[in-house]
Symmetry: C2
Amino acid sequence: MYIYINEASHHLGDEVEIRGWLYNKRSSGKLHFLILRDGTGLMQAVVSKKEVSEEAFETSGNLTQECSLIVTGKVSEEPRSPGGYELHVTDVKLVGKSEDYPITPKEHGIEFLLDHRHLWLRSKRQHAILKVRAETAAAMREYLNSRGFVNLDTPIFTPNACEGTSDLFETEYFGGSAYLAQSGQLYSEAAIMSFGKVYCFGPTFRSEKSKTRRHLTEFWMLEPEVAWLDLDGCMDLEEDFIVEVVARVLDRCAEELKVLGRDTSVLEKVQKPFPRITYDRAAEILKEKGADFTYGTDFGGADETILGESFDRPVFIHHWPADIKAFYMKRDPNDYSKALAVDLLASEGHGELIGGSQREDDLDELLKRLKEHDLPQKYFEWYLDLRRYGSVPHSGFGLGFERTVGWICGTPHIRETILFPRLMHRLEP
Amino acid sequence: MYIYINEASHHLGDEVEIRGWLYNKRSSGKLHFLILRDGTGLMQAVVSKKEVSEEAFETSGNLTQECSLIVTGKVSEEPRSPGGYELHVTDVKLVGKSEDYPITPKEHGIEFLLDHRHLWLRSKRQHAILKVRAETAAAMREYLNSRGFVNLDTPIFTPNACEGTSDLFETEYFGGSAYLAQSGQLYSEAAIMSFGKVYCFGPTFRSEKSKTRRHLTEFWMLEPEVAWLDLDGCMDLEEDFIVEVVARVLDRCAEELKVLGRDTSVLEKVQKPFPRITYDRAAEILKEKGADFTYGTDFGGADETILGESFDRPVFIHHWPADIKAFYMKRDPNDYSKALAVDLLASEGHGELIGGSQREDDLDELLKRLKEHDLPQKYFEWYLDLRRYGSVPHSGFGLGFERTVGWICGTPHIRETILFPRLMHRLEP
């Protein structure tokens, strides 16, 4: 019977078949100890010369790293085996050989590993990070689905830019041009007028000439949008969301976080309430800590690190200078110079996880904003219609998915948090 | 207390607040009957002149289609109200006016509706279709997640094409070129060597100069890939998957399917086993039914319709002429002229839902295929590595998500199954 390694506990004493790859091997005369991996876990298989055919024993002796094989044997408990179960082998079949596998236990440079991403994926660490990614995505989707958010996919091809046209990838479109979306927000704003609460979760694209460890040219973004929600409500939602998602990943990815050597006490501190400070207060903190920061500008990576490290859990920074924020953000009615915007910074200097805001819902104000930002009104007529026909207060946020996974995993560079990272100088494999 | 309309049953007799939009209105002297919608449902609100302030009564009388409003009142049962509950209004506040809403109960042409997609979304039918879309996506993800498939996102930017370079969108990439992916399959093949079972689910792009009702330039595709799976196993998986997804949507979207007037008896017939016929047999059927079809070519839309209508449930067509199939498909060892490929056609002429195959796992065969297809080996070295280091038999499939939603909803044109459709001549709104 063919089983997966993570099903071994249900098959104690059974003769089963494991199909997988050779992760490791050691031999001592009449015994070969094979460590198998099949995607669901690792398992030791013991090949004893007196219990298998001569051919099977010889095959076992010649197995090389990352060859594929089918091993038959009896399952027993063995605390010293990874996973706690061991296979007493009755037969071994080599399926696909593997000669001179490029990635060896020695150290490799990062460019070499990225060039061999298709194989690097098999390493324990990369396997763990991407399992955390998948669990985090499922946790996020299920949080929203169970609360009545309707998952809708916003378009990638757009005729114009959400926040101006810099850093956009352009593609030929049947004789014209299209730009690859950097956000689905404007489209989701249309959708909430039909559905109340929606989210999109898909790839977004930025042609930034940036090589920092926090940037990819192609990354995934989760963007919920909610009708009848104000800025405070938006912070409440983000907080509840992050707390629940982190708790679920802690619960279900304990093994992976252990492989990654993640200090989980940091994640256990991700509890309500998150501190909520104004931009003005954040600027004071930066000044107090001697940062090279000019009031009225956006935070740089170093500033985000200082601010993030000032708290033991993620911190909200709200009420930003309107001048440096996007045209669609609503102004604070009590201080017209400020936008009802909020960023959520991760702990430990992992930077901005989420950017959110209450959206401008007044037609005349929005028209003013478009003019101030030099955006052509004709491209936004449909968006303006949302303020002409039954406008409502509403808010939403965009979460950088790879940054969030990187923070949960404690990885310094987000290039490891996506299957095949796309960087300024990397389009392959 | 602010509640959603679909929570009304829990608030019988309570005074609640509903926030939404005016869907419809009729008046009879001292009574206004407002039909509200808030994204979760429709509800009738009765405004009686003697129970509200003069101002609130006048406001109610002046409400126009699609204005946004907050209505306070007491919940009571009322079988004649949509949803079965009614609000006895104590107050009405207009939030956002709506003058001359462009979409009226009269008939509009399809181009007008597509031009106003941002508002058209609010119509009952579009709301229902997109709710089915969201439920279908959730059902698909949860089917796979609960069976150990790891959800990984394959890249959109690719340096080369999966099946040749026709119909690809090209974008400038830091001085070079990138192409927008039409499939994540090749990347998922690398991932299964680490994870065993994976899937990707994201947008894909085809620059086809096609204006049929089955084509979009941007559409979503779900692509599971499984190590150690052969063609028969792949058909078993597709069958089980489709049966369970359709059953869940039937169960959870009964209301929406009713709005759409969907003949659900057709969907209830989606039960195992699906017929499995060879390409050769399919060609015979087409001949018997007098189709204008040449043996050895791919089926056209009309052929797919004839074949789909020949069975009362989806039908598998397997063992295709290798010449017209992709380079990565494995040949039938018993008939080298055939590829181990399988298409799943929907019932009722909705066309191809799924294309799948067992993949070529032999290095030398794959090298031959690349040559035959005139594909440059150097771009595929990483893909060839998967056959050099622990190759395993494996299979997978790609499901066209909008076509599947269109089939479930019974919509003739898939442009209604995505939030903002992108067509050859449509990039807006």
